[in-house]
């Protein structure tokens, strides 16, 4: 199996692709019986420092319905200067530029190691990046101050020629005009009125260039940049102005009566931001960055009324259908998200408040456009500040780790059809012969729009097996705007072998990538959870797991103890166990906003991060040896250990009982116990390392045995000891968890029992 592991790893590193199955079942029926669909996790912009983009355009298959890109899998006739498309078998002439082609003089795209290649397209105008800040002013003074500072700081991080704009909102929405000298101007909109894009553009004076003659189309391209420049200006021109403007930003001046929430017109603000960009820079990479410190309380998109006595909806309310504004608000934001997506603009949401802010309703803004969703308690926390700063982090070339306006096109060889995709994308509704009628995730198309991308953005792409062939091939073509404003095309072409599930099940089994499969199944589960009742999803997941075990487990009927799973499946049930308990599927103890946020991140992170989310990592530090990963189990919680848990969203450092006592006694300050000091320091350093790399910044929790924050750890570990199995008490085997949740052992027992039973 090691070979497969290597193979998988190698492929991932080269192509950013991980398939659930690396050997494909050869018929539709067999594929169905495999339980876990044939699917892959694709990280379109996986960082490839070793892959310099080529400076020419790709060669396309000449068949209009195909247009696949020349790749190493194509058959090339060097003499005839022909190449055969490996998807449609069309024979194509090489373009004149390839005249010198020969076996020894191959273009990069024909070399096997360039199964992933990136082209730089020189065509078309290069549009600068656009950053539109949408800032809530209904904040506490220190929050606002912190936010202002963050924003001011961000100006220095932006590329000098990128365009920035500023919209602030509270009870009103203000679109700030940045071009003016002296007096600062802003256009103000009522926060309660839903405006159409046309109205917004009219009111901002965007639609009416000074010449009233509309029919003259040619004139418009010249006019537009001019008009829009009032609101979106190159940073280098106005950063002083904007810094001052941000500095003078006041809290929303409208009085907030006792017992009321401030009136916050988030819905209109976003609508205007979308409308503004739509009118000025359609189909240009742009980032709308929404900073909000509370829920929208008025106008379209309001999530909760301004009466404080009425709390914002909870899962309970939603189940009871008691969330008055939810549907309407969701619809509003969906409409906006779709419009933004259609124009290639992405929307980020940075929500910092102690209470919920309506992320549930607004999630589609980020999810459909590839924006970020960041949730924090306050803008005045390092969590927000560093997260925000990290958005503008740069890669080894000094470019932002972000890309815009991407279109992902998937081409398959005839044996496969595309069932759908799950990730921060919207369908472009491009039907084709390779599009399956069965949808998994966002389906019915072979192309998706991903307005905001970063090197970790990962999509789950699901396929349907139609028939067998020689070598199944899939080509992923991602057009995008690089942060250097270049248009680029990244092409990844992968192929896997087919195997007959009847005869070669072992091969298929061995080529199972349980990590990828877990994540892909989890994505499906989460995707379902968005629209279905929680228990249904769990039941579905369970059934899938049971079927998988039945299919690939080795057992004797009706004998649970005989049940075995091969190595390539061994971890899968455990992933499923933790997935069932994860916040992605369990809403208990999570607000709707939290759930939305967690799901948001889950749907876009790459495999490693996703796995961490599903099953947090636990490290143990002790005097007994170097730090070691330990089971995510209550038995790992020991008095003389320090635990470091990474759940992706949280980093928890937990001092065992004894360690905590020692620390309180101050041993670490005594020179003779320097080793204790080092022990205490070790997890901190490691945590710091994780913190440095992670986006978004995780919540950093430093706690100890009996500490209130220890709940973060206790809620995650497998409750192998609870108040229900008291026999464990007093033993040095860990800490009991006060929960009624089933433990992994119980779960596995049941699983085995069900798997071997012939009842299902």
């Amino acid at each position: 199996m090691a070979t497969y592991l290597e193979f998988i790893q190698q492929n991932e590193e080269r192509d950013g692709v991980r398939f659930s199955w690396n050997v494909w079942p050869s018929s539709r029926l067999e594929a169905t019986r495999m339980v876990v669909p044939l699917a892959c996790l694709l990280t379109p912009l996986k960082e490839r420092p070793d892959l310099p983009p080529v400076q020419y355009e790709p060669v396309l298959c000449s068949r209009p319905t195909c247009k696949a890109i020349l790749n190493p899998l194509c058959q090339v006739d060097y003499r005839a200067r022909l190449w055969a498309c490996n998807f449609c078998f069309q024979r194509n002439q090489f373009p004149p530029a390839y005249a010198g082609i020969s076996e020894v003089n191959q273009p990069a795209e024909l070399m096997p190691q360039f199964s992933t290649i990136e082209y730089v397209v020189q065509r078309g105008p290069q549009c600068p990046l656009i950053f539109l800040y949408v800032v809530d002013t209904c904040l506490e003074e220190d929050d606002l101050q912190a936010l202002k500072e963050s924003l001011q700081m961000s100006l220095s991080l932006l590329p000098p020629d990128s365009l920035v704009g500023l919209i602030t909102f509270g009870r009103m929405v203000q679109v700030h005009e940045l071009s003016c000298e002296g007096i600062s101007k802003s256009y103000v909109f009522r926060g309660t009125k839903d405006l159409t894009a046309k109205q917004i553009q009219d009111m901002l004076g965007l639609t009416k260039p000074t010449v009233p003659v509309q029919p003259v189309q040619p004139a418009q391209p010249h006019e537009q940049p001019f008009v829009s420049s009032r609101f979106l200006q190159p940073v280098h021109k106005i950063d002083m102005n904007l810094t001052d403007l941000l500095g003078e930003l006041q809290r929303d001046p409208w009085p907030v009566p006792q017992g009321k929430r401030p009136l916050r017109s988030t819905g209109v603000a976003v609508s205007i931001a979308v409308g503004l960009l739509e009118g000025t820079f359609p189909n240009t990479g742009a980032r709308i960055m929404l900073f909000m410190g509370g829920p929208p309380t008025q106008g379209p998109g309001m999530v909760v009324g301004d009466e404080l006595k009425v709390p914002i909806r909870s899962w309970h309310d939603i189940e009871k259908d008691n969330a008055r504004f939810m549907k309407k608000a969701t619809k509003h934001y969906e409409m906006l998200a779709n419009r933004a997506a259609a124009n290639g603009h992405c929307i980020d949401i940075y929500a910092c408040a102690l209470d919920q802010t309506g992320l549930l309703e607004m999630k589609c803004c980020t999810n459909l456009t590839g924006g970020y969703m960041v949730m924090g308690d306050s803008f005045n926390t390092s969590l927000f500040k560093q997260t925000f700063q990290r958005i503008f982090s740069k890669d080894f070339n000094g470019h932002f780790r972000m890309a815009f306006g991407a279109t992902l096109e998937v081409k398959t060889s005839r044996e496969l059809k595309i069932a759908g995709a799950i990730g921060p994308c919207v369908s472009l509704n491009v039907k084709g012969p390779c599009v399956s009628e069965n949808e998994l995730g966002v389906g019915g198309t072979s192309q998706w729009k991903i307005c905001g991308l970063d090197p970790t953005s990962t999509l789950g792409i699901y396929f349907e097996v139609v028939s067998q062939g020689g070598r199944g091939a899939v080509q992923f073509v991602t057009h995008y705007q690089h942060s250097s404003t270049q248009r680029r095309i990244r092409v990844t072409t992968v192929a896997r072998n087919w195997a007959d599930a009847q005869s070669q099940l072992k091969h298929i089994e061995a080529a199972f990538d349980q990590e990828a499969a877990a994540v892909l199944m989890a994505r499906l589960g989460v995707f379902r959870a968005e629209s279905e009742e929680g228990p249904d999803v769990l039941r579905w997941l369970d059934r899938q797991l049971i079927r998988l075990c039945q299919k690939f487990g080795q057992y004797n009927k009706e004998d649970p103890t005989s049940f075995r799973l091969s190595d390539s499946f061994s971890l899968y049930p455990q992933f499923m166990f933790h997935l069932r308990r994860s916040p992605f599927l369990q809403v208990f103890n999570n607000s709707p906003d939290e759930s939305s946020c967690y799901r948001h991140h889950f749907a876009r992170q790459d495999l490693t991060q996703s796995l961490i989310m599903i099953q947090p990592i636990l490290y143990s530090y002790s005097f007994h040896g170097p730090p070691e990963p330990v089971l995510l189990d209550s038995s790992s919680i020991l008095p003389d250990r320090i635990l470091l848990m990474d759940t992706f969203f949280q980093i928890v450092i937990y001092l065992g009982e004894t360690i905590a006592q020692w620390q309180k006694a101050g041993y670490q300050d005594m020179p003779e116990y320097e080793n204790f000091k080092h022990l205490l320091q070790a997890p901190l350093d490691d945590a710091q390392e994780i913190l440095q790399a992670r986006f978004p910044m995780p919540r950093y929790i430093n706690t100890e045995h009996g500490g209130s924050q220890a709940r973060f750890l206790l809620s995650k570990v497998n409750p192998s000891q609870t108040h229900n199995n008291l026999y464990a008490w007093g033993q040095e085997t860990g800490a009991p968890i006060l929960t009624d949740d089933v433990s992994l052992q119980v779960f596995m027992d049941h699983l085995k029992k069900l798997a071997v039973s012939s009842a299902c």
């Binding site: 002296g182 007096i183 256009y187 001046p253």
Partner: protein, 1096 residues
């Protein structure tokens, strides 16, 4: 009377009797009388001579030889008569007459000295007379008739007069136009007279000389010859006219004299009556005409007239054509008389039903229990006891109330009374406020309400013992018990939402569209505001104004400004959602000027720059007001919006207007639509504004039609003002605009006001005119009210009034002062009640009446065709006068025009109203102008309407330069202008300097700094500052006039015979206007005819 007079002249002229009849018919028949009536006034000078002459003319030959001598004889009788009258015991006449007498004798060298003197005297007397004769109103009327009296004389003499009578008879048939024509003829004669008497006249001065100057130049020469060949040449003026004047001149004395003469014979009725009678008789005589035969007199004049009408005899027409304008009641004379008689002593308001001095008179007021006439003026101070009487008289009962009128510095503003927490003491039933008329009873424990008779307990803290007269001992310590006007501090119960108001705010809303920028308006305004903001109205001794300010600019979108003091730079907030206006900011929009000075200054510096390159020409309007109103609402205060607007709001927004100006609608039934707002949006908006206490002042700078009728709806309903500067250019209009602006910003305003007029039982306030809004039938709601705004209230009977108790008015105004204090201003006024119509007519005020009628008519045009409105006015006027004639004047011939003394100016003023731009637009008057004027008049006070309708025409070069007092005005007629003089004309809105073509070069040099008339720039608006006496004096005078008016009057220099003169002539209201308005004389005749019709 006129008839008579005219008659006499006629004969001389010739005897185109045939013409005559025609004339009579037109209106002459009646008119002659009427004309006569008018003549009496002006006549003084002229008339008198007329008389003298007339007799001769009557003779028929006399005229030729020299009207004078015969006239003298004729007069002599007259004169005697006058004496006689005096003798009879008219004290007033006596004195005046005596004086006159003395002079006259001296002056008159005529052979028939005795007689002559007499005659002349009357003339002199007249001026004097009127005042003394107050009681003798009738006498004046008589005066009118005087001529008539003269006529009688003639009869005595025999010859001449007879004929006139015949004329009268003829008169009946004439059409109006005919009438007019006839007048002219009449006028011609007067001239003749003047000449005839030159000697005698000098004393009388003004009239004769003027007359002479005019006619001669005009056509006197030619006419004369043609007409009365013999006579005329010499007299030029023609005796006949003179005679008319007499009639007209009615000046009491004269009238009396004639009257006496007449009366003498007829019988010794009261002097006045008698005098009148004679006059009438004359007319009657005229009617008798046939009997007397000597119609020729008439005839001749008429012929002349005839010519007018149909121009039978070209030559004649001119000379004969006029009645002597001097003979008809002269506003100038009335004003002068009132000034002389009542200007010197303070007007003490203690007595019920006193008629105050005219608005044109400077007088002091001492408040002793009734509101000063500066606050309230009534059409009549004596109210008929019953509605029947009131209906019969048709005299509107109305009060013109100016609750916050500014007082001269010598008069104290109303005391503020604080009744503590319980608030002002009021009647429990009718809620009237404590006032001097409340009756304390039961030893002071209770009081009876003077309005509703309800008996109320006196609260213990207010108790006070009564003295032996039943008066509270502390009556003189308490303003509310001793004064007519005072203020109460309001308690929280009187405040909106039961919260004391916050200080008001001013919001400046500036149009920054292309037009406004290009004309330089924005720059000018911003510059001015910087300094002007230091002069916001403040209360009492407050160090700084409590008023906050805010700024908005707009074109098709609105720009609000955050000028919070903590900002380094103002912030602009653009609201482009004009369809659904809102206020984008709260904090920092309305600020204290001193705190935010730096930011405001910066803003005002930048506004012109920011929009310097604007190409936006479209504007919105309703959203602007809405925005201001919303801002005030958000700030929870009342306030005022200053809107500076340039163009028709055609941008897509609520209140969008289209150009609907259509001159073709004029004189059609649809004309009223020009005055009506285009859309209901503005009314709705205004209603909201009123509810918020948001007053809107609108400054318009249109280059073309902006639909003032619609745009002014909100200012009108919110108690605001509209200013209009057509084709604004900084160089030309800067001074005017800035002056208006300064005044408007600085003036003290009351906000969020409610006015209620309570009356004692029997009458009731039923109708209100002015700039305000009413949501019910009793409360006048004013978002803002300043010291210039006037509300006219009409009363009707709902029960019998009691002569004993009179009628009481109490006007209570609840308002927020500019410091945010809630107050009640109370004005009380007690009026008399009468059972005799004569009392009513004796206590009327024509100026107030005109104020009411104008407002009534101006409102009428909204709903009725203009012609209907005019006819209504004429009919009402005729009814008023006919009622007087029928019930109060002593019986006399129907052919005589008899006017009540108090209303003798009613015809001339009413004619001015009828000719005004609103009711009879000239070709050059735009629809906007009409709507603008209409709207202005609605809230004018009496003084303003007075001068607006009858402009003041001041000769500048007649009196010696050293004479620093204001020169006496002359009548607004072209005839009064001498081409060797310079005149100043003003009507409260316009100011003209008319320069005669043959003004002395020295005068031109010292006034204009150029060497000749031809070098004077026509249309000049500023007089050069020259260091000489004349220049200083004239400029001083102009400044003085401007200071008197609430709006800055832009000066326009008009040269004689220049294009601009047409504009100027428009204001010579006694003349026939180009747009078809009748001349004074013609109108008088017409009125007479109407009256006669009513009487018959």
């Amino acid at each position: 009377m006129n008839v008579n007079q005219s008659a006499p002249p006629v004969p001389p002229f010739g005897q185109p009797q045939p013409v005559y009849p025609g004339y009579h018919q037109s209106s002459y028949g009646g008119q002659p009388g009427s004309t006569a009536a008018p003549t009496p006034y002006g006549a003084y000078n002229g008339p008198v001579p007329g008389y003298q002459q007339t007799p001769p003319p009557g003779m028929s030959r006399a005229p030729p030889s020299s009207g004078a001598p015969p006239a003298s004889t004729a007069q002599a009788p007259g004169g005697q008569a006058a004496h006689g009258q005096f003798g009879q015991g008219d004290v007033q006449n006596g004195p005046s007459s005596t004086v006159q007498m003395q002079r006259l004798p001296g002056s008159q060298p005529f052979g028939s000295a005795p007689l002559v003197p007499v005659v002349s005297q009357p003339a002199v007397l007249q001026p004097y007379g009127p005042p003394p004769t107050s009681a003798q109103v009738t006498a004046q009327l008589a005066g009118m008739h005087i001529s008539g009296a003269v006529a009688p004389v003639p009869p005595t003499s025999g010859l001449g007069y007879g004929p006139p009578t015949s004329l009268a008879s003829a008169s009946g048939s004439f059409p109006n136009s005919g009438l007019y024509g006839s007048y002219p003829q009449g006028q011609a004669p007067p001239l003749g007279q003047a000449q005839g008497h030159p000697g005698a006249q000098p004393p009388q001065r003004s009239v004769p000389p003027q007359a002479s100057s005019f006619t001669p130049s005009a056509s006197g020469g030619p006419r004369m010859p043609s007409m009365t060949g013999p006579l005329l040449p010499g007299q030029s003026f023609g005796g006949p006219p003179v005679s008319q004047p007499n009639h007209i001149s009615s000046p009491p004395p004269q009238a009396l004299t004639p009257g006496t003469q007449m009366s003498g014979p007829p019988g010794p009725p009261p002097p006045m009556h008698s005098s009148q009678q004679p006059g009438y008789q004359l007319q009657q005589n005229g009617s008798f005409g046939p009997v007397r035969g000597p119609q020729p007199n008439y005839g001749s004049p008429y012929p002349g007239t005839a010519t007018f009408g149909s121009q039978p005899g070209p030559p004649q027409p001119l000379p004969p054509k006029r009645l002597d304008p001097d003979a008809i009641p002269s506003p100038i004379q009335v004003i002068e008389d009132d000034r002389n008689n009542r200007g010197s002593e303070p007007f003490i308001t203690g007595v019920r039903g006193q008629v105050p001095p005219l608005v044109t008179t400077n007088f002091l007021v001492k408040d002793q229990g009734n509101a000063s006439p500066r606050y309230i003026r009534c059409t009549s101070y004596n109210i008929p006891c019953t509605s029947d009487m009131a209906k019969q008289a048709q005299v509107p009962l109305a009060a013109v109330i100016k609750p916050l009128a500014r007082l001269p510095p010598e008069e104290a503003s109303p005391y503020v009374v604080d009744h503590g927490e319980s608030g002002p003491l009021r009647c429990n039933r009718c809620k009237a406020y404590m006032c001097p008329f409340m009756q304390f009873i039961e030893g002071g424990r209770r009081f009876q309400c003077c309005f509703c008779s309800c008996i109320n307990d006196v609260p213990p803290q207010y108790f006070q013992h009564l003295d032996h007269t039943g008066k509270r001992v502390d009556a003189y310590d308490r303003p509310e018990l001793s004064l007519g006007s005072y203020e109460f501090l309001a308690t929280v119960d009187y405040c909106k939402n039961n919260k004391f108001p916050s200080p008001p705010a001013f919001i400046f809303m500036i149009d920054v569209s292309y037009n406004a920028i290009r004309s330089g308006l924005v720059r000018l305004l911003c510059e001015e505001l910087k300094s002007l903001l230091d002069f916001l109205p403040r209360e009492g001794g407050a160090e700084e104004s409590a008023i906050r300010v805010g700024f908005v600019t707009y074109n098709k979108v609105l720009h609000f400004y955050n000028v919070k003091s903590s900002l380094a730079q103002p912030q602009m907030m653009v609201v482009s959602d004009v369809g659904d206006m809102f206020v984008p900011l709260l904090d920092g929009f309305l600020v204290n000027v001193n705190e935010s000075r730096a930011v405001i200054t910066s803003l005002l510096d930048q506004i012109p720059e920011m929009f310097a390159d604007t190409r936006e020409t479209e504007t919105v309007f309703a959203p602007v007001i809405q925005a201001g109103m919303e801002a005030l609402k958000a700030a929870e205060c009342a306030g005022k919006l200053f809107l500076f607007h340039t163009s028709l709001p055609i941008a897509e927004a609520p209140g969008k207007l289209k150009n609907r100006d259509d001159r073709k609608l004029i004189n059609t039934d649809k004309e009223k639509t020009l005055f009506q707002p285009q859309t209901g949006v503005y009314q709705t908006l205004a209603k909201e504004c009123v509810a918020q206490g948001c007053c809107v002042d609108l400054f318009l700078f249109p280059n073309q039609y902006v639909d003032v009728a619609t745009l002014s709806v909100v200012p009108q309903l919110t108690g605001g003002s509209v200013y209009k500067y057509a084709c604004f250019q900084v160089e030309n209009d800067q001074e005017r605009f800035l002056s208006d602006l300064r005044r408007d910003v600085q003036k003290v305003v009351g906000f969020d006001a409610v006015m209620r007029v309570r009356t004692s039982t029997g009458i009731r306030a039923v109708d209100f005119f002015g700039a305000f809004y009413m949501s019910n039938t009793t409360d006048v709601e004013l978002a803002g009210l300043d010291g210039d705004k006037t509300v006219t209230v009409e009363f009707k009977h709902d029960d019998r009034l009691n002569e004993e108790s009179g009628a009481l008015l109490q006007c209570a105004l609840l308002y927020t002062s500019c410091a945010g204090q809630r107050r009640l201003r109370i004005h009380n006024l007690a009026l008399n009640c009468c059972t005799q119509l004569a009392d009513l007519y004796r206590n009327c005020e024509t100026d107030t009446l005109i104020n009411y009628m104008a407002k009534f008519a101006y409102r009428g045009v909204l709903n009725s065709p203009v012609k209907t409105v005019r006819d209504t006015l004429i009919t009402q006027c005729a009814q008023i006068l006919a009622c007087y004639r029928k019930n109060c004047a002593s019986p006399s011939s129907a052919g005589q025009l008899i006017l009540p003394e108090c209303m003798k100016l009613l015809p001339v003023y009413l004619n001015c109203v009828l000719k005004s731009d609103v009711l009879q637009p000239g070709a050059e008057v735009t629809t906007d102008d009409r709507a603008y004027v209409r709207q202005l008049v609605t809230s004018m006070d009496v003084a303003e309407t007075n001068v607006f309708f009858y402009p003041r025409l001041l000769p500048l070069t007649k009196s010696p330069i050293e004479n620093t007092t204001e020169p006496p005005a002359v009548r607004a007629s072209e005839e009064r202008l001498s081409n060797g003089d310079i005149y100043l004309l003003e009507n409260g809105l316009n100011l003209f300097l008319w320069v005669g073509a043959s003004v002395q070069q020295g005068v031109v040099q010292s006034l204009f700094g150029v060497s000749s008339f031809s070098q004077i720039t026509s249309g000049l608006s500023v007089l050069p500052v020259l260091d000489n006496l004349l220049s200083k004096k004239v400029r001083g005078l102009i400044d003085g006039l401007r200071a008197q008016r609430s709006r800055y009057m832009k000066l326009i220099v008009v040269k004689q015979e220049d294009k601009l003169e047409m504009l100027f002539k428009h204001f010579l209201v006694e003349d026939k206007s180009l747009s078809g308005g009748a001349s004074y004389v013609d109108f008088l005749c017409h009125m007479h005819k109407e009256i006669r019709q009513l009487l018959s």
